[in-house]
């Protein structure tokens, strides 16, 4: 393994593949993009988890009012239609 990331370019007119190490600027941009992507992924996962928790809490409240799970599922299905 090499420490410097490699970019591969395949020239379709010749079929020749060329490998070259990334420049310092490309590596810096890549590192910044990686950090942003991981932050975005975490934010999305957190939002998904919050939404699921909210849904579960709402479901529990409805069942406490006497609705069955079948009632709740029917309501959700109608709301999505």
């Amino acid at each position: 393994m090499t420490d410097t990331p490699i970019a591969i370019e395949v020239d379709c007119s010749t079929g020749i593949a060329t490998e070259r190490p990334l420049t310092a600027d490309e590596i810096a941009a890549r590192d910044a993009a990686a950090a942003q992507a991981e932050a975005d992924a975490k934010a999305k996962a957190d939002a998904d988890a919050a939404q699921a928790a909210q849904l579960a809490a709402t479901n529990a409240k409805l069942m406490a009012l006497g609705l069955t799970q079948a009632d709740i599922d029917a309501l959700l299905k109608a709301a999505k239609a």
């Binding site: 990331p5 970019a7 591969i8 395949v10 379709c12 010749t14 990334l22 890549r30 990686a34």
Partner: protein
């Protein structure tokens, strides 16, 4: 209706890995293009799979609508993105598993926006963890005013494609 698939070029990543794979100098003699992908990245952060972004002619100025199953709660999600293209296996997935993905680009020589679609699945056989199986279907539009002459694929988390990741570019003619 496609009646010919011609292999234009291919690449299988070597032992050093690769941060990106580019097909350049693409001939303008076909009607559509198809890229077949079997890939895995070195991403080990978190517990999820990884994604691949596409750039046409060095630019990723496109919009995309995505249907993605990649939720730990099993609920399909639909959302817009300007970067995501394909789900791919990562180092978080089961060892030695690779994704299956396809990018289909219609009328790639057109001077108008280019419509394209992708479908992909990242395999994971472990019994726990986030994003056990990541599946996505995507429709996108690339805002280009010239034909596509190059396609670059990179990990959205900037991780390397690992050895044996493979990429095949096909040209399709409609007659």
């Amino acid at each position: 209706m496609a009646n010919t698939y011609a292999l234009i070029a291919s690449n299988i990543v070597g032992s050093g890995g690769a941060s990106s794979v580019t097909f350049s100098s693409i001939s303008q003699t076909y009607t559509d293009l198809v890229v077949k992908v079997s890939s895995r990245t070195a991403r080990s952060t978190g517990s999820a799979a990884d994604q691949i972004a596409i750039a046409f002619n060095g630019s990723n100025t496109y919009t995309a609508k995505i249907l993605n199953s990649g939720s730990p709660f099993g609920t399909p999600q639909s959302y817009s993105s300007s970067s995501l293209a394909l789900e791919t296996d990562s180092a978080n997935n089961t060892a030695n598993t690779f994704n299956s993905g396809e990018i289909y680009i219609t009328n790639y020589t057109s001077t108008n926006n280019k419509s394209y679609s992708t479908d992909s699945v990242a395999e994971n056989n472990s019994g726990s963890g986030d994003y056990l199986v990541a599946l996505s279907l995507m429709a996108g539009s690339a805002t280009l005013t010239s034909g596509i002459t190059s396609i670059t694929l990179t990990s959205t988390t900037s991780n390397n494609f690992v050895q044996y990741s493979s990429f095949y570019l096909y040209g399709i003619k409609n007659s």
